[in-house]
Symmetry: C2
Subunit: 394 residues, 2 copies
């Protein structure tokens, strides 16, 4: 491939994503929904103008890392500490309710349809696929509505991050039942080490940033150093601690959220995001989808799978939020905000495939779950927040 | 390669490039020099921390395209038309003097060294490698000094663009002597068609942009549409007219340079550039270099090759500028500004290799030329402009 040919894909992606993003906004839907649909439209499933390439995958990865870094930068550290324990509880329920209901769904489906003999491990794995929330879409939708800094927004954000880590532990545990090479204990230790590392290294780098920022406020070097720091922590998290790169990026943002120029860094990041990386990330979700090999039994399974995955998160996270003294409306928002799934669900499926716990055919269901949840969550969140505003206004 | 591993390279690249860029600025040298040296330092030649990957190549390509788009956006169209004819003359001399002197050097070298029998075609090809100016380094240096909008800056910019096109015609002509598949006439026609296309399509898109800009001034959609337009024209130029993508990007900038919000677009582009794409582009020049296989005869050849390449541009462009009523100092600046070589020299060598007119061993000389000219030009330009300022001040 010649170097210049990337410009064709980039031009089409940026124009399609931003145009449909605008259309979505005109229809009172969040912009990200339009951007995901743009990917679906120009992707191999419909027009076939652009297909997923390693370059686009990598640009999309930068996009999601920038998004999480920016979310971290916008964090109010005091609020985060305050929401922490509740977020932990929500995350735990948000993992175990979908895990249980997902496995149950699998057994019921195979029990009723008599399609073959269900396997206990496979059932548990179907549940495992449903555990990990993908926070990026929700963050982006909340940010667009200006609700990321609310108590609900911060709770969702923290819970989704913790949820990711518990989800990976569950994955390791379930695979460990089959594959002795993966040890759940190691994952727990690694995650704990990453927290310790973040606190120690984070504190030192915070002091350095603070000092540099005081000497050279509002200079180019602050956001550039911040960007490099975000990339470095993303890499370190995944390479040395087995924690997702986006979690590393989010931590990098939190570490820097209290320096003088954190808003200034965030502003520069957001320009990078909305110009290029953001649209590419959201469109690439749609780009991955090709529903060519859909059969009727698979369609039924998929519908059930998607419904169980969405409802189990709403139920799991919603009920525990209600117990933790959120009102009904906010509990519902938290449940809905937690129901998006993303690349982690695909990664989990991939892992399951490699140890023989998932059939390739289920990938279609997982992709459908990602698409539907990515489109439904922002729309539902917007409706829920709007209803609240209407009630207050009336 | 896992998706997250790009963050390691990006973090190292950005930090090293910006740090050495700052050091260069402290030493009164232009920042780009530090960024190129950073690439050299972290690349396979010295520390071996980062090596050229397809992803970095593509990011660098975006970097140079953004740079040229921004240069186009900053153009004063009236000045460009005024400098046009003179720039044409300078470009013609800037192609033919290096072509002649390069071939002469080759014959002299082989005549004296008795290393083998020189071939006429090979000699002409060595000259051809020397023809194409790489404008990006010069543009960046001039921009940093705030001299891009001067008459000298605009003349260099236009001449370098025209020089590129003439250079490609010469390449096609020389290869056409050997390879009947490439027709010089087709290249001339294609270039002419690209100009016609740019004027017609450019005029229409200018009107559309102007209208949109009037309705939605200072909104996100203007720079985003501009970016997509720049990518589209880069692609179209190279794909359909065989013109370099950076020329397409420069034309896109010129087309949009007269809309209300051109400064606003430029500002957003420059943030993208200096944060990420710019440092990667400049560092990647250094990254390509590995001087491991240098021998003594090759070293002598390389020294001669680099000297002839640099001096022939200064002589060719400088003398014709002097004839066109530039004063001595400005003529020298134009000559120096035109002497940078870049990826086009490598592309030309690659083409020569594929038709058997260039030995692979000469690639080292070409890379040395790129590195040395990229470092020397900004430093010399800065000194020349400074001397002028000192003379005026005294």
């Amino acid at each position: 491939m010649e170097a210049y040919s990337i410009f064709r894909d980039l031009a089409i992606l940026v124009i399609a994503a931003k145009f449909l993003g605008l259309v979505a906004r005109k229809c009172k839907a969040p912009q990200v929904v339009g951007e995901i649909l743009a990917g679906l439209l120009i992707g191999p499933g419909v027009l076939g103008l652009v297909s997923q390439s390693p370059f686009i995958t990598q640009m999309a990865e930068i996009g999601v890392v920038l998004l999480m870094f920016s979310a971290g930068l916008g964090t109010n550290l005091k609020d985060l500490v305050k929401t922490g324990p509740v977020a932990c509880l929500i995350a735990v329920c948000g993992v175990f309710v979908p895990l249980a209901l997902g496995a149950l769904f699998y057994f019921c489906y195979y029990g009723f349809s008599l399609l073959g003999s269900p396997s206990f491990y496979k059932g548990v794995f179907i549940g495992t696929i449903m555990t990990a929330t993908s926070v990026s879409i929700t963050v982006s939708a909340l940010k667009e509505m200006g609700k990321l800094q609310t108590k609900v927004g911060q709770t969702i954000l923290s819970a989704a991050i913790i949820d990711d880590i518990i989800g990976i532990m569950v994955l390791t545990f379930v695979i460990g039942l089959r594959d002795p090479a993966m040890k759940p204990l190691i994952v727990v230790v690694q995650s704990a080490l990453f927290f310790v590392f973040s606190i120690v290294f984070g504190f030192i780098s915070y002091k350095i940033f603070k000092w540099v920022d005081k000497r050279y406020p509002h200079t180019q070097r602050i956001p550039i150093a911040g960007l490099a720091y975000c990339f470095a922590l993303s890499y370190i998290a995944e390479r040395f601690f087995g924690i997702a790169d986006i979690t590393g990026a989010y931590f990098a943002g939190i570490i820097l959220c209290n320096i003088e120029d954190s808003d200034y860094i965030q502003e520069k990041m957001d320009i990078n995001s909305y110009m290029l990386f953001g649209p590419i990330f959201f469109a690439s979700i749609g780009l991955k989808t090709d529903l060519g090999d859909m059969t009727l039994p698979l369609l039924w399974f998929s519908i059930g799978f998607v419904l169980v995955a969405l409802l189990s998160k709403i139920i799991g996270c919603g009920i525990i939020s209600r117990i933790c003294h959120f009102n009904f409306s906010d509990s519902l928002k938290i449940g809905v905000g937690m129901m998006t799934r993303g690349e982690v669900a695909l990664i989990v499926s991939q892992k399951g495939l490699s140890v023989g716990l998932v059939e390739p055919i289920y990938f279609t269901s997982v992709i459908l779950l990602i698409i539907i949840s990515s489109i439904a969550t922002p729309i539902l969140l917007k409706l829920l927040f709007k209803r609240d505003a209407d009630i207050i206004a009336s």
